[in-house]
Assembly symmetry: C3
Homo-oligomer: 262 residues x 3
Amino acid sequence: MTVITLLTDFGDLDGYPGVMKGVIWTIAPQVQIADISHSISPQNVFQGALTLARSAPFFPPGTVHVAVVDPGVGTHRRPLAMKLGEHYFVGPDNGLFTLVLERAELLGVMVDIVHLDQPDYWLPDVSRVFHGRDIFAPVAAHLSSGVSIEILGTPIINPVRLPVPKPVNNGTGLLGQVIHIDHFGNLSSNIHKDLFTQTRAVAVNIKGKTIDGLVSTYGDRLPGSLVALIDSSGYLSISLVNGDASESLHTTIGDPVELLFL
Amino acid sequence: MTVITLLTDFGDLDGYPGVMKGVIWTIAPQVQIADISHSISPQNVFQGALTLARSAPFFPPGTVHVAVVDPGVGTHRRPLAMKLGEHYFVGPDNGLFTLVLERAELLGVMVDIVHLDQPDYWLPDVSRVFHGRDIFAPVAAHLSSGVSIEILGTPIINPVRLPVPKPVNNGTGLLGQVIHIDHFGNLSSNIHKDLFTQTRAVAVNIKGKTIDGLVSTYGDRLPGSLVALIDSSGYLSISLVNGDASESLHTTIGDPVELLFL
Amino acid sequence: MTVITLLTDFGDLDGYPGVMKGVIWTIAPQVQIADISHSISPQNVFQGALTLARSAPFFPPGTVHVAVVDPGVGTHRRPLAMKLGEHYFVGPDNGLFTLVLERAELLGVMVDIVHLDQPDYWLPDVSRVFHGRDIFAPVAAHLSSGVSIEILGTPIINPVRLPVPKPVNNGTGLLGQVIHIDHFGNLSSNIHKDLFTQTRAVAVNIKGKTIDGLVSTYGDRLPGSLVALIDSSGYLSISLVNGDASESLHTTIGDPVELLFL
């Protein structure tokens, strides 16, 4: 029993993710299917890449992750499948896999990437505007059924990569930025916990506010307090206890976050 | 292993679709369940009918589709089950199945419809306000377990049908209307690609704008361009590349769409 | 084949419920997973408790219900598992299980509760901010795989309970309050049908309006009518036929609802 995950910007109105499940179960009736998110902002490839990278590692070996945030659908952008260690990824070649690929390279696992060019493994009629249904879902189903990746396409080594903003050490600390705002209004930065010693005294500057020290969890301060902590993905994050930090601070993606060493 | 799909206007707040899954898995523990949409606008039977008709064909033979947009729940409106070719449909007799029925008739497949009147196949206590849980979910589970449709009810031949707006040939082209606005703001018309030769030169009029010719996909024009194309269901559709055509044009369902033959 | 349900305030943006499914299927690949709701208002434990109590009874014996509305995650609040009759519940000790526990006690079923304190059944690295992923999902998977509850923790008898507002008999009738507003704007009160004889003549007062008598279902009155009825969970409820009663009456949770005996 294998698992296929779906991550898209399709929303929940029109039945597009459901249709992908129909296609998958027609080919691979036993597979389990998990929705990761269908609420990625339309055409926001980076947000998709980030959510995928934070979710995929928690799935079992053999999982096939289908990701479709695809403004270039039906153009010359290539459809891809990748094997990164024991996980598969299927979707458009537009940078959506940048972060899972970086992680695979960091971990030193085997990386195989193919340009999907074997229509025998697609639906018979391929629309120019819905490759999620017509190419990626059937390819994922075939992968989960044991078809090997090299049969599905031609090896490539140059997938598109997005620029990923990295924090800068400016002498007094690390200067990063907000890269994700979650459902609760928590602000996730690009400053990973491995970049600094957590026993060191720090302060965090964001939107003109200074937060003294890190807490371990939200409940370490009173409701309404602004706190800094390491989030569940290992990144420095700013939260408002029992509230919405993003709303309170009027932040947007890209706002500077500074970690000061004291 | 069979599949049951769920399409409702129940939203995602209250757990109603989850409860239907509990009922289904109590009767048919092995069945796979796919959500098509629970975001149909409250009581919008036509939107439900359209989304169902566009999704159902992509599921495997034997799939049971449960659809519940049901303002008349608990009144004299009949609960129905249908076998249309190799797919089953279960839900209220209010027109929700108009489009899948039209398609079945067009394809010439076998059509069997029953008025569900056998409470042995329902939950023991039937609420007057939640037939999705108490009648349709258990009936679907029994169908997926192999109970045949004629055991579940009495044959009928006159299910309720919604009026379906059809495009008109006005001499210079086809005059249709917007029948669906999707999550991306794409405007789907009721003008099907089979109604005209796609190699013919055309223009599209909508909300006082004229769009010259059809493109094959969004990325054929620059971001911000208004384009006309054939969508993934085969209908003439208007999109704003990397944007929201509905918001930009201030359209609503029913707005005229004109395809001009040049 | 057992079932695990998920109910959280995680929303659908970030992939958190999907990650929990990945963790579960890594441990228990065969289990079916149903989302009950991920749209509980952030930190609204009572709303979670209510939705859980209304949904859980419709799942098969052996179902494991994971509920995570958890403002105290990572603090001294205990992680719990409960066996209430033939259903299991897993989540934080903050009152989220108050209503399922009350119901179990009312029905006289066996109640076993443990403080989860056996990290062997958790993920190896436990974040302080995402116990849904790191503790509750793996514990649920182990329960569904047959690990018995007493192995997972230490028995306790004093789980946290929320105050539950009960209706008051004021001589002329029952004075209750709005405890839930659903996706359709239906107003659910805390006045259960068992508290009064439904053949008795009644009127309902809410927000200065008086509704004469109860109907059996929405369609018993014309669209736009305000009606009172018994909802699918057995509670007195106020609806606007084909409309949104909450919007029309400007109600909020806690607004008084009076059932007058005539």
